[in-house]
Symmetry: C2
Subunit: 430 residues, 2 copies
Amino acid sequence: MTLNASHSAQLKSWVEAANDPLCPFPIQNLPMAIFSTSANLRKRAGVAIGDQVLDLEVLERSGLLPTGLVPNGLSPTPTAVFNRSSLNAFMALGPAVWSAVRSTISGELSKATSDWRLFSQLLTPLADAQLHMPVRVTGYTDFYASREHATNVGTLFRGAENALMANWLHMPIAYNGRASTVVVSGTAIKRPRGQIISADKPTPVFTASRKLDMELEMAALVGTANPMGDPVSVAQAQEMIFGFVLLNDWSARDIQVWEYQPLGPFLGKAFATTISPWVISREALEPFRVDGPQQDPQPLSYLRQSAPHNYAIQLQAQLNGQTITETNFKDIYWSSAQQLAHHTSGGCAMQTGDLLGSGTISGSQPGSMGSLLELTWNGEKPLTLENGDIRRFLEDGDRLSLTGYAQGEGYRIGFGEAAATILPAPSETG
Amino acid sequence: MTLNASHSAQLKSWVEAANDPLCPFPIQNLPMAIFSTSANLRKRAGVAIGDQVLDLEVLERSGLLPTGLVPNGLSPTPTAVFNRSSLNAFMALGPAVWSAVRSTISGELSKATSDWRLFSQLLTPLADAQLHMPVRVTGYTDFYASREHATNVGTLFRGAENALMANWLHMPIAYNGRASTVVVSGTAIKRPRGQIISADKPTPVFTASRKLDMELEMAALVGTANPMGDPVSVAQAQEMIFGFVLLNDWSARDIQVWEYQPLGPFLGKAFATTISPWVISREALEPFRVDGPQQDPQPLSYLRQSAPHNYAIQLQAQLNGQTITETNFKDIYWSSAQQLAHHTSGGCAMQTGDLLGSGTISGSQPGSMGSLLELTWNGEKPLTLENGDIRRFLEDGDRLSLTGYAQGEGYRIGFGEAAATILPAPSETG
């Protein structure tokens, strides 16, 4: 994929708000979501432009979009993909269609001579749109691909001498997460109960987690599938990726530390995972591709990449409105393309809608760590917020928000927000 | 659920083959599958009776089945559930409908005065039926609930002193598996490649697994869902279970041992999982409920069960036609109901189509272990087959088959077969 007209910093939209250099949704972005409005409760696909949502269902029905080209010619009915409650049907169509649709929308929203008065009837103010889960998540895999995070957590859980395990520099380590509890930003998160062991007692109790944590991650969404038994290369994997979202891998550290041996994280992370509603296309991020950290030792051949597959994306987490960490996706050790290629390397089938969490993204500086576990060093060094509140982990009523953007010349590719408020645990009657 | 007429040992069918005491599909069984025939390629639901398959799509259309009762009254069209390519829609209807449908089918296949000549037009010989995946697997969780297996594997991977970890007797340990590669019996399994480390080399190589193993398991299929944030009790969990299948959790031990720390099994098990095509309903297994092993220490209250939830099911594995292990599901330490209740205990949402592998079922006797890893003690004690072949792990061309049955008085509840042949790994060009 190369840079084209849709990336030009000079490109402007007749939707004026999109031309503000700080607007998260300029014409260079064009992220997709599933939305509804009070006037039309049907869930359908939309594109953000400035302070508006463009209704893709109506646009597709008008015949303006090239989705009908595949696979049944121009007949719009059998192949309509934007009248669904998820983006999966569109995602399955593949990179050529993704790109053609982006190009069409970009053209319509920018051309000076467009019949934009007609077109503007397809726009709804963002403020009036309810955003839903953008995809039907068919599988959720969470990687562990930040060297800084793996080193920090390894030190806390196993001591400095066992921090980074022998396999870590050779492959992107991951576990299968729980797809059924991936929810969209704004969904409240109930504090989980679980088995927790105290240092001073030999047996666990079943109680509410006292170490509820966030994990700041990016996630790649798989668009096109590979059949079982057919691994893909890193270059092929990159082409399979439809786009990216922000992801908060909520973690109950006290449940996790008791249950995770020997089979890995389970209920400590199964209660909820939050993603942002806007899917930023891979094409929109093309100008922000950068080399990742140098990989030493050199990866085995099936993991080698001949092009940069990292992305420079500024990320931050806010707790009750105050920034508690700032980091960047560019520092992740294993790229999403490497993660996906590794995932298929033994023959695992990937499906449209697979969600690949990058792993918590921690930088090397203080204040750049992607979890409270690291920021407070497992509660030993509490954070003091500006209003005087002290936090080791999350408390009931806390609101945690992840945001991010890629900074272009005069424009920003914004990711919106992955946020949630913490609710108390269910009552202790179970 | 109590025993009713459909369990009576005296009950006979006018399908004569069903009355043979060794027939796996007597009228007391009535397992469901998804099938097609050369005369009708559409995938649809069927019930096995003797040597025949009863076409449930046609039976439902005739109005004889009570599926239309829920939720839209008797209108058959909007609620037809047996004309689908999976059983999920029927499974979602819940225990009252499952039981009513079983009762109707049992009555029709047994009554002496039935117009069975008409009814018999809905039967197809099993030999002419192609069996497909019975369910759309929405999530696959694999437990580790046999104490003997956990002790054996723990000894092999970590030494006898660290065999059974401190948490094991307090909770059903599990990991999330990969749902996209759960396949039906008969699907050939390609040997995976992956990163493998040798004792004499410091860095891994990417090559075909040399330690391809089976794991003999049962699996519970979740019928009804629970919402995120709402845990269920053991008794409620039992009611959510639609039925059981045989499950082979194929495992590449050399890939697994290198990748599994600290986040658990991933690609060593993601390449394939085989299930049997016939789903045995929980109701059919009601006469075979037994107490499991005594649990000491007593489980925490959310895991306590006030009724027996284990099942006496004889299981065996055959390698190229020769029995290599015999064991019984009754010996599993944590019941499927306990596993499911634990799964929800932190608020994880379970969905129709969730597959819960029991974990490898190993007995305490030699020859009753559920994996080659244990049977050959990681290859140290090879098996010699009757034809002189020697096996440490599976070789290309091997056929591995799991079978099982519950023995009633004068009849058997058969599970059919979960079998596959091993294909060579993809060529070494990746």
